[in-house]
């Protein structure tokens, strides 16, 4: 707690988001604590349905109904976003925090040129002339590596490839020079050669603009390419966090280890892959105690009844697991 002083750009404490279920409201994001420092890339990793995207939407106060933020704090440079008025929050989105999504096609307006859309985004947050906004858009298009940017200003989204559309989205997200960029599976829909180009671009821009990035992904390879720190999420809770090297090289939580071991790229031909048995249960069937206890190979008595507390493994590396806690004690 005390090792995250004022330099955090954004910090959540006890963030809890619920949806109605059969027996009352069900938390899909459950007491999530995250801190992202200035200029830092934090990866939030997990499989489908673990709550990683909902965490990001909660931070932007964009939780779709009937979901709602139930508890917790979201502080952006010291001010609690949950207390902001709706218009003030709208200014924060886009200006302070921008977001890019997996599928750029669904985030772009198909009947407006991509140039006009970026111009509009700039003029929404700043009072500049159309000509000035257009000049800045051209500048951004060049910056994000769109070839022939002049003529691409007047292109419609369907005329651009997936990689170029994602570059347009990044240009739009950067147009207001946000402090934090939330990138939700930004390369999942792209081919590997295009993915490598976009990852390179995000890396360059992050250095150049000195912004912070919250990277949401299921792909541990992308985590390795981009992240400084990693938080692993399972069934609505953070279960392990640490530096990139802590998590990818020294993972301790059985779930994180299972994820890494199940990657076919690490196994050799003919060898059986390590499986995590079963599937992630739906939120209304999350077990009491440790949520991973129903699939864990190291489960013992407290796991099924008590929620594990945090164990400090090193100064940067923590895990929420009874088995890890026992290892540390002995």
């Amino acid at each position: 707690m005390s090792d995250t002083p004022a330099e955090a750009v954004i910090e959540t404490r006890g963030l809890t988001t619920t949806f109605p279920g059969e027996g009352g409201r069900v938390p899909v994001v459950d007491q999530v604590d995250l801190q992202i420092a200035v200029g830092e890339v934090l990866a939030l990793v997990g499989e489908s349905g673990c709550g990683k995207s909902m965490t990001a939407l909660s931070m932007l106060r964009l939780v779709p109904k009937p979901g709602r933020i139930e508890a917790g704090e979201i502080s952006l440079a010291g001010s609690d976003l949950r207390r902001l008025s709706v218009p003030a929050m709208r200014q924060v989105r886009g200006q302070e925090i921008s977001m890019i999504f997996q599928e750029p096609m669904t985030s772009l307006n198909p009947v407006a040129t991509v140039g006009a859309q970026v111009v509009e985004a700039i003029r929404l947050h700043e009072s500049v002339s159309k000509a000035e906004a257009r000049r800045r858009t051209l500048d951004l298009f060049t910056r994000v590596g769109i070839p022939d940017p002049d003529s691409r200003l007047d292109a419609y989204p369907h005329q651009l490839s997936g990689g170029l559309k994602q570059r347009v989205m990044i240009a739009m997200a950067l147009s207001t020079r946000p402090r934090l960029l939330i990138a939700d599976e930004p390369t999942t829909a792209l081919d590997v050669t295009i993915q490598a180009q976009i990852l390179q671009l995000l890396r360059d821009l992050q250095q150049e603009f000195g912004m912070s990035i919250l990277l949401i992904t299921h792909d541990l390879g992308i985590v390795n390419e981009l992240a400084d720190r990693v938080s692993v999420m399972y069934a609505g809770r953070i279960i392990e966090e640490g530096s990139r090297v802590d998590i990818l090289g020294e993972a301790r939580h059985p779930y994180t280890r299972g994820l890494l071991l199940s990657l076919p790229s690490l196994a050799s031909r003919g060898e059986r892959l390590a499986e995590i048995p079963g599937v992630v249960p739906p939120p209304d069937q999350w077990p009491p105690g440790c949520r991973f206890s129903t699939r864990c190979g190291r489960v013992f008595e407290p796991c099924t009844t008590q929620v594990p507390a945090v164990s400090e493994i090193t100064g940067t590396h923590r895990s929420w697991c009874f088995a890890v806690a026992r290892e540390i004690e002995s």
Partner: protein, 323 residues
């Protein structure tokens, strides 16, 4: 090694016409597959790898005669499937089965699991009676590690990984020799993907199946395939044994693809964008080598002359540098 391969594809060309105007006149062709040769020995696995739009899915569909090839031969057990009249093709349809990426789209939502799996058996006359077929469905579900008591449920009552198991059970129901897996694990979470990959490996061992994996995921390829063929814009640009392709790729595109895959080794932060720009349209492939517009090693000759598949150690490579 010994006899002729179970599946041999020669000079396969599948072009899609581009039609314009009131009379829908053909004004050009999308050369989705343009001269592809492949061979798979019985009991082996070949991975056909490439990025979106390279034509890998069309190769699979052409082999199954789901798309009509313009030219070429598809030899299966000594018979050219492309030249068989449709009645004579029918018996072969049970020998070749396919599993798609999205199991929800390939299962009829209104059909109970038992009926979805038994449908193929019924049409190929497998099993003497309905009750015998029901028993076989139970055995198949067990084979893919699902509870046979769930056979009276509908597809939506299963998770994504379980639905993919159902599709595999349905493919196995007609006792195929060759199974084409078209991005069959791409939509699954890694922990579930590992379960399905292990299942496919077991089935191959136990039933002697031959696989054609169509995929963009190089991690899966290395784990599963004996041989790899890399496709770019409708053509195979490199092929060879899996280890050789991964350890010593010869074609600049293969090298670029491999370099672009992010590693999870924290000591190696390596993914490099060697291949720049976007894939050109398969309606207007570049002259000369189709890859020259994105190739980091292209020289004058590459834009003028089309390279053939030159023999390299342990395979072939369509690049003048391999000549």
């Amino acid at each position: 090694m010994s006899a002729r391969p179970l599946l041999q594809v020669e000079g396969l060309r599948t072009w899609f016409p581009i039609r314009r105007g009131l009379l829908r006149r053909t004004v050009g062709y999308v050369q989705a597959v343009d001269g592809v040769d492949l061979a798979i020995e019985e009991g082996m696995s070949l991975a056909l790898v490439g990025e979106s739009g390279c034509g890998k899915t069309t190769v699979g569909r052409s082999i199954l005669c789901l798309e009509r090839a313009r030219e070429g031969r598809v030899w299966f057990g000594g018979v050219d499937l492309l030249r068989l009249p449709s009645q004579e093709l029918r018996p072969y349809r049970s020998d070749l089965q396919i599993v798609f990426q999205d199991p929800m789209a390939s299962l009829d939502p209104r059909m109970r699991v038992r009926d979805a799996i038994a449908e193929g058996m019924h049409s190929f006359g497998i099993g003497a009676s309905e009750s015998e077929r029901t028993d076989r469905v139970a055995a198949l579900l067990e084979r893919v590690q699902l509870d046979p008591r769930q056979m009276w449920r509908y597809p939506h009552e299963f998770s994504g990984g379980q639905r993919q198991r159902l599709c595999i059970a349905r493919a196995l129901a007609v006792e195929p020799r060759l199974v084409i897996c078209d991005e069959a694990v791409s939509a699954l979470d890694v922990s579930i993907q590992a379960q399905i990959l292990n299942l496919l490996g077991e089935l191959q061992q136990d039933l002697g199946l031959t696989y054609l994996f169509i995929t963009h995921d190089l991690g899966v390829v290395r784990y599963l395939a004996d041989e790899v063929a890399v496709m770019y814009l409708g053509q195979i640009v490199e092929r060879g044994g899996t280890e050789r392709i991964f350890e010593d790729p010869r074609h600049p595109y293969t090298r670029g693809l491999l370099a672009a895959v992010p590693s999870v080794d924290p000591q190696r932060r390596s993914a490099a964008a060697q291949v720049l720009g976007d894939v050109p349209s398969p309606a207007h492939p570049p002259a000369g080598c189709r890859f020259h517009t994105r190739c980091p090693e292209a020289f004058d000759r590459c834009s003028e002359e089309a390279p053939e598949l030159f023999a390299v150690e342990g395979g072939r490579s369509r690049c003048f540098l391999s000549e």
